[in-house]
């Protein structure tokens, strides 16, 4: 299973400095999350789509990803339109769909997808190690950036170990079902994975200390900081802020 499915590529975003991208993605997300009008949310989604176009990601994987994330939104579409009070649009079998409910759900859908598009375009195009070093550059506490990098490393170790043990279980005829035997098997599997990874971490930790590890990491992918990166990041943040301002002062109603 490939976890970093979008990190390979040659688009401008792939070579951009991770710290600048992190800042841009975070601020753009915050601005978009605060929007209250559908017009502004549409504009934000448009910005997100443009960013995705610049990132040139494999279309098929991208579609699958976006559909998957919209599952929670689909759950909201099932409940929100009928449970919001307001002017009824139509009634069916005791449920009343209201205009306010549909508007609210539409707003959430637009904002959510705008943020997802921007985050995929900006963050999924970096590999996680670079993002970890980006955190350090943005003055995130050192322990936290270290924890981030080590966690990323151990996700692979644990996934591999887990797959090995579950293959072994399958070969011995284990078929998962809804019974306590299944849950006990899973639990024993997890405990075994934990113990093995713990031992391994202990060894790695000792080896690192032996080599004089002093709490900093050096990424092999050197992304050079260009002044252009700061300009791109600032433009994205500015777009977000402009949308928020337009929304706050109801400028969209003037159109």
């Amino acid at each position: 299973m490939s976890l970093e499915s979008f990190a390979e590529g040659k688009s401008p975003f792939h070579t951009m400095d991770a710290a600048a991208k992190l800042a841009a993605a975070a601020l753009f997300s915050i601005c978009t999350a605060l929007l209250t009008s559908i017009t502004a949310a549409c504009a934000a989604l448009l910005v997100g789509i443009v960013l995705l176009a610049v990132a040139q990601l494999p279309f098929k994987i991208l579609c699958r990803r976006v559909l998957f994330i919209n599952a929670f939104i689909a759950f909201l579409w099932l409940t929100l339109p009928v449970s919001t009070a307001g002017t009824p649009l139509f009634t069916w079998g005791g449920f009343t769909v209201t205009k306010e409910g549909v508007d609210l759900t539409l707003l959430i859908t637009l904002k959510s997808n705008a943020i997802i598009a921007a985050v995929i375009a900006l963050l999924a195009t970096s590999n996680v190690t670079d993002i970890g070093t980006g955190f350090a550059r943005l003055h995130v506490p050192q322990k936290l950036s270290l924890l981030f990098l080590f966690t990323w490393r151990y996700i692979h170790v644990i996934l591999e170990e887990y797959k090995r043990l579950s293959t072994a279980a399958t070969l011995r005829g284990f078929v998962p079902g809804t019974n306590s035997h299944t849950y006990k098997t899973y639990a024993n599997l997890i405990a075994m994975v934990l113990i093995k990874s713990h031992d391994r971490a202990e060894r790695v930790s000792n080896a690192m200390k032996l080599r004089g590890f002093n709490g900093t990491f050096h990424s092999l992918h050197r992304t050079r900081t260009h002044p252009a990166d700061a300009v791109v990041a600032a433009t994205i943040v500015l777009l977000g802020t402009a949308l928020l301002a337009a929304d706050y002062f109801h400028l969209t109603e003037l159109l």
Binding site: R65, Y154, A187, I195, H198, E202
Partner: protein, 217 residues
């Protein structure tokens, strides 16, 4: 139990982000460099657990394991869970940047509470250990579901139905989490008690916490 971007009003997002930041700060204070590796493993297991789907009747749910994390880490659960959630947001876009605060609070506060309630029971004998870890796994998920649906409900009356559905659907997950946590803790206590940095009841007797080789220099 992720809350997606753009759903909650800014007041809730901001206040829960502040509370989470406080929790993360306390956690980082209590985390020394020697335990970073162990913490990273548990944080990675929290991430991987969400990829493991176990069958529950006709559907399947994924494991959460935040109760287990709480027993092993206490306050350090906050940074551990935040890191795992940040990775999920970056890699799969589950949750997100603006909801990182609220999702961390919902998933990490219950394990901290469970740590204080159930940890003392872990050193009182094997039966007590099994009961405590079962209850811990169950309570952590139950509290997380309560908090998540609570924040959804705070988002406005119109979210009440979504909140109720969320709460009811997590009941089977609670029982399974309890069972799995009990077996995992029992297994760890028997085979590798040094993973816990406090006294734990093993099948033979209560052994004191062994310091790992890295800390005995």
């Amino acid at each position: 139990m992720h809350i997606a971007e753009g759903v909650l009003p800014p007041v809730i997002l901001a206040s829960s982000a502040i509370l989470s930041a406080a929790g993360v700060c306390i956690g980082l204070k209590k985390l020394d460099y020697d335990r970073i590796m162990t913490t990273a493993i548990l944080s990675a297991s929290f991430f991987v657990a969400s990829l493991i789907h176990v069958p529950i009747g006709p559907v399947s749910g994924h494991l959460i394991l935040n109760g287990l994390l709480g027993l092993l880490l206490g306050w350090v659960s906050f940074p551990a869970i935040m890191v795992a959630l940040a990775l999920q947001a970056i890699l799969f876009q589950f949750g997100g940047i603006t909801t990182l605060g609220v999702n961390t609070l919902n998933m990490a506060l219950p394990p901290v509470i469970c740590f204080y309630v159930f940890r003392p029971m872990l050193s009182k004998g094997t039966f007590s250990l099994r009961m405590a870890s079962f209850l811990c796994g169950m309570t952590a998920v139950a509290l997380s579901a309560l908090l998540t649906s609570g924040t959804l409900a705070l988002g406005g009356d119109n979210f009440l139905n979504s909140a109720k559905i969320l709460l009811i659907s997590s009941v089977p997950v609670m029982v399974i989490e309890g069972l799995i946590t009990a077996v995992v803790v029992g297994f760890l206590a028997k085979v590798s008690p040094q993973i816990f940095d406090f006294e734990i009841a093993t099948s033979n007797s209560v052994v004191s916490a062994q310091t790992s080789p890295s800390t005995t220099e």
